[in-house]
């Protein structure tokens, strides 16, 4: 089981569909609800003409020290992805603000991680819109 974290704290999974590895993305997915899993070494540009068909992207963080997922999220948003975007794996609460600022909607961690890093630690960083240098430097984003 896993815990979903949003600005409101710990949530239970509300996505009832399944996640498909990006390599198994159907050739024409426009008609169904599609959620895909991206590994952290995936080049998001490869999805350039498929984003319209995708509702939900979950980006893997194999280790909290692997920061590629932040750039992947940012790039997906820059490419116009407007669906649900989730960071999943080994993240620590200190990374919550980074994840939100990079364009993720939410974070998914395991129950074990959640036991060690309680909800209060994550809520501490729910103020990710404050103290953000980027918001002072950019017209948007």
């Amino acid at each position: 089981m896993s815990v979903i974290i949003t600005d409101q704290g710990f949530q239970t999974e509300d996505w009832t569909g399944s996640f498909t590895p990006v390599t198994d993305l159907p050739a024409n997915a426009a008609s169904v609800e599609v959620a895909i899993d991206l590994p952290s070494d995936f080049d998001p540009l490869k999805l350039a003409d498929r984003l319209e068909e995708i509702d939900f992207i979950r980006v893997d963080f194999p280790s909290f020290s692997d920061g590629r997922g932040f750039t992947i999220a940012r790039q997906l948003r820059l490419m116009g992805f407007g669906g649900r975007l989730r960071a999943r794996g080994h993240l620590i609460s200190d990374q919550y603000a980074m994840a939100r600022r990079a364009g993720f909607d939410e974070v998914e961690i395991s129950d074990e991680q959640a036991a060690r890093q309680p909800e209060a630690d994550w809520l501490r960083r729910a103020n990710w819109q404050a103290h953000d240098y980027q918001s002072r430097l950019r017209a948007r984003g």
Binding site: S65, I72, H131
Partner: protein
């Protein structure tokens, strides 16, 4: 000088409070040591051989007197009464206790300073020409842009867990005093055909185990495009940089393995996507930053007292010959205070010395101080008529060593004395070389010569770009020192070439002495510097001096 906005102030306070909480969570076990490590590193806290070390950022090397005094206070209150200025314009405290660090960070915040991103796999403290705003050869003061980069890179959400560290240097002068070609990104201010200022962008330079001179990725980048372009570079590298081998993760290897062309194309593509995101908002902020870097009100007064002191006091004259640089304003000089007294640890200053320098900056230096990457302290704006008083005060504080740019103005990394990675000592070698040449009384005759020493192949002492580089290695449990010649960290950047077999610790000082005395015989005139002589004659004559045939005979 830049003064914090309310936003900056709130940011550093919030950051200290986050770090305080992280320390508590580490102690409670909520964070594993693995998880805590990058968090403490991105707040400047590093684990050395014997203790924690706190590396405090001196953004683009600029300090005011109140800040310098606070560093003195921190040194006395929480450390052993001294601090160490580094090659990246930071200051390090070698003996803080973990539990005290949040308080030290609060004390720094009290004077608008921090230790953010001075370590770890982040974009590090941006360095700049230490003569910025004062140099006679400057196109534009690079510090406003360095401050803009500081703000942009601070806590940048994409770039806190990069493949490795990322260093940026910027210079506003054609004479490169910021070693831009040895950085992950170097920015050199240039003008285009119409006279507009912009940057030459250099990428993939770096020293370490695989030294590389940076390559030009963009000949001319308009000033306004800086942030989207640099963000594109770092972003491309974040996805492409290797994470399987930390010795291959720096951008210099990414550029080397993928080719400059491919990286350039990817960067341009990303840049085009990012450019509209900024929409000029950053340029408005830059204008506000620039307004804070207005030059001081220079005065015009006679310099007779200075000329008279030079004529009557040989020690003063010698100091002015070596430790002053040309200032853009009439009657002014840039004063370099040597933190390299013969026999002392290069870059170490005591709390008392810090206070003296702060006082001098306040009384005579328009309240500005700089830290140079050569580990000296600079008073960038001193009127020449005040120099005799400045000199007298420095002499009383044991800070009047007249050796800037000379053989004893050595850069040495911490080496075996502090560093867990060291394979040899470097500070004691620097001390012995300086002491020896002081005894010989030839330093001024020898002229400009940069010796740089590293205690292992990570090259923190920049030995690759020393005119004479010394690299300390471990050969079967015995220290062995390799020499390189011809390195250069300026706009003509070059990586030094190895002379041949290394020398054991007891032979390295005599070897350096032979080399330098040999140069005196080889030079075509007293004006020809060591580096020029090396460039004219090549390695052979120096090799012959270093490895005389008698040695072979003796060995046989």
């Amino acid at each position: 000088m830049y003064s914090y906005t309310d936003f900056d102030e709130a940011f550093v306070r919030e950051r200290v409070s986050q770090f305080r909480h992280q320390v508590e969570r580490r102690i409670s076990g909520a964070l594993t040591e693995d998880e805590f490590k990058p968090l403490r590193l991105m707040n400047g806290l590093y684990l050395q051989l014997h203790a924690y070390m706190l590396r405090v950022a001196v953004p683009y090397g600029t300090l005011n007197p109140a800040q310098m005094r606070q560093l003195a206070y921190i040194a006395e209150r929480w450390d052993k009464g001294y601090g160490h200025f580094t090659t990246r314009q930071n200051i390090q405290f070698n003996w803080p206790k973990l539990k005290d660090v949040p308080d030290i960070l609060d004390a720094l915040a009290d004077v608008q300073m921090h230790a953010i991103q001075t370590s770890g796999n982040t974009i590090r403290n941006v360095t700049a020409d230490h003569f910025a705003g004062a140099a006679a050869d400057e196109i534009e003061d690079p510090r406003p842009v360095a401050e803009l980069l500081r703000q942009w890179s601070t806590d940048h959400p994409e770039f806190q867990f990069l493949p490795r560290k990322f260093k940026i240097a910027v210079t506003g002068s054609p004479n490169d005093r910021a070693v831009t070609k040895a950085h992950d990104v170097g920015l050199r201010m240039v003008r285009d055909a119409s006279g507009e200022p912009g940057y030459e962008v250099i990428v993939g330079g770096g020293l370490g185990r695989t030294p590389m001179v940076g390559k030009v990725i963009r000949d001319f980048l308009p000033k306004a495009d800086l942030l989207p372009y640099i963000e594109a570079v770092v972003s491309v590298w974040n996805l492409l940089g290797r994470r399987d081998n930390k010795y291959k993760s720096r951008i210099k290897i990414t550029v080397h393995e993928n080719g400059l062309e491919k990286i350039r194309d990817l960067v341009e593509e990303r840049f085009n996507a990012l450019r509209p995101e900024f929409g000029g908002v950053d340029q408005t902020l830059l204008k506000e930053i620039e307004a804070q870097f207005t030059p001081p009100a220079f005065v015009s007064k006679p310099t007779d007292a200075y000329e008279a002191a030079r004529a009557s006091n040989a020690a003063f004259r010698s100091w002015t010959d070596t430790n002053l640089a040309a200032h853009k304003a009439d009657g002014y000089a840039i004063v370099s205070i040597s933190i390299k007294k013969h026999g002392a640890t290069p870059g170490d200053a005591t709390a008392d010395q810090m206070r003296v320098m702060a006082d001098l900056a306040e009384s005579y230096g328009h309240s500005e101080l700089r830290i140079s990457h050569e580990q000296n302290v600079i008073l960038p704006h001193v009127h020449k008529s005040d120099l005799p008083a400045v000199y007298a005060a420095l002499r009383d504080a044991d800070l009047a060593t007249a050796n800037i740019g000379l053989v004893s103005d050595i850069i040495a990394c911490p080496g075996m004395d502090y560093c867990a990675l060291a394979t040899a000592r470097s500070i004691p070698i620097a001390q012995e070389i300086a002491t020896r040449f002081d005894e010989l009384k030839l330093e001024h005759d020898i002229g400009p010569l940069k010796i740089k020493i590293s205690g292992c192949i990570n090259a923190c002492g920049h030995h690759h770009v020393g005119h004479i580089g010394i690299l300390g290695l471990d050969r079967a449990g015995v220290e062995n020192y390799q020499i390189t010649l011809g390195g250069d960290g300026t706009e003509d950047a070059a990586i030094g070439t190895r002379t041949g077999p290394g020398f054991p610790a007891e032979e390295i000082i005599p070897a350096i002495e032979r080399l330098v005395l040999g140069y005196l015989d080889l030079r075509s005139s007293p004006e020809e510097t060591f580096l020029e002589t090396y460039r004219r004659l090549g390695m052979e004559p120096f090799k012959a001096i270093l490895y005389p045939p008698e040695d072979k005979a003796n060995a046989a």
